[in-house]
């Protein structure tokens, strides 16, 4: 059975290491915060200007001056600090964040990612996504393996405008985990329960390494 969104988030959370500073994107990546392994201390960065992001507030305790990069109300922790947007992206661009987990519309076999624009439709803007994929030490994508029409989102090369080139180290989809090795090629490193390599082959356009 293919992984659910929560399964993907749980698997992504296994990539968190003790002491890591992590930036989580919108969607499935946000769920990762619910599955941080026990004994692993992780500090979440929110690129609008916060390190040490806490949980959502209790009802009625929302503070309009305290939101995350998804514009949701959040809370602070004892360790938290606030800073301005230039300092926040200096932190990101300068390689001080260990891991970024992002959603994607497309990922290519050479690690390109597209997740900000569909030409002809409305353009919302890239926000901080281009900065994150260019600056964070390791970037990981969680996404459905195929789109609603059943077409592969894991491609030979991206058809949509890129967010970044050669920057994704790992892709976690509903079908499994795909990790890049030293040669730069993605390989199947894990399958979701009941998923076969043949099913992955059928649903993957990218040239990846099968065991």
């Amino acid at each position: 059975m293919a992984w659910s969104r929560d399964d993907m988030a749980r698997r992504a959370a296994q990539e968190l290491k003790d002491g890591y500073y992590v930036n989580l994107g919108i969607g499935i990546p946000t769920l990762v915060a619910n599955y941080i392994p026990e004994g692993v201390d992780v500090t979440l960065q929110s690129e609008n200007g916060m390190l040490g992001m806490g949980p959502f507030p209790y009802d009625g305790e929302e503070d309009p001056d305290l939101i995350n990069a998804g514009k949701q109300t959040i809370t602070a922790l004892r360790r938290s600090s606030y800073f301005n947007s230039a300092d926040s992206f200096a932190m990101i661009r300068g390689g001080h964040i260990d891991l970024s987990i992002l959603g994607a519309m497309e990922v290519s076999e050479n690690g390109d990612i597209a997740n900000w624009m569909i030409p002809g439709k409305m353009v919302k803007g890239m926000g901080g996504a281009m900065d994150l994929v260019a600056g964070v030490k390791r970037c990981l994508v969680t996404m459905d393996h195929t789109n609603r029409a059943g077409a592969s989102k894991f491609l030979k090369s991206c058809s949509l405008p890129l967010t970044g080139k050669n920057c994704i180290a790992m892709v976690i989809t509903d079908l499994g985990v795909f990790e890049r090795d030293g040669s730069g090629q993605f390989r199947v490193s894990e399958l979701a329960p009941g998923i076969t390599l043949d099913e992955v082959r059928a649903k993957t356009e990218a040239d990846i390494d099968y065991p």
């Binding site: 009625g60 947007s85 080139k165």
Partner: protein, 239 residues
Amino acid sequence: MSKKIYENAAHALEGLTFDGMSVMAGGFGLCGIPENLIAALRDSGAQNITAIFNNAGVDGFGLGLLLETRQIKKMVSSYVGENKEFERQYLAGELELEFNPQGTMAERIRAGGAGIPGFYTKTGVGTVIADGKPTREFDGETYIMETGLTCDVALVKAWRGDAQGNLQFKDTARNFNPMMATAGEITIVEVDELVEVGSFNPNFIHTPGVFVQRIIQAKCEKRIEKVTTRGPRPIEGDA
């Protein structure tokens, strides 16, 4: 030096607005936006504004006010996904739009205020953002050049300020505000609280007064875009 304090937003903008002006306004989404100054800018009637705002506000609030009245000619932003009127004007070709990666935008504004006309970044290399921009190699890697940004008038929202123009910002309402304060030919600030000079610990002033020309105290509505909670607070004693 109480010469910096103005009575209200309209007074603070007096003599500074004109057709074709460039304006920065702080804020991330609706968090930390200078609500009263934006409304006063709309009321000033200035046209063909180049607006350097990270976001486009929502319909009818924040920067949405200036879009409704079509006072904006060009937007420089990183994300405008929350505003339908923006979408309509943009698709109808009534509005120019220049997207900047958020970190590049923040750095361009800081650079503008710091006398740095250009800098190199790897953000956007290999994307449409790099189109037409000069590149340079450092240690075998390619970077693109981005330029510093300044403006005629910067509109800033702070938490507390004093008559010298010293400012403190609150939580994530800080965002773009401190850099924009440095990048305006004239910088106007609205604060939640105007405090006595000497109230601040000088170690914890986010924006030194030199960057601020005019300041008002004003009440903000502070709308929340996405109220998100984890449910009711547990009764004391529960886990």
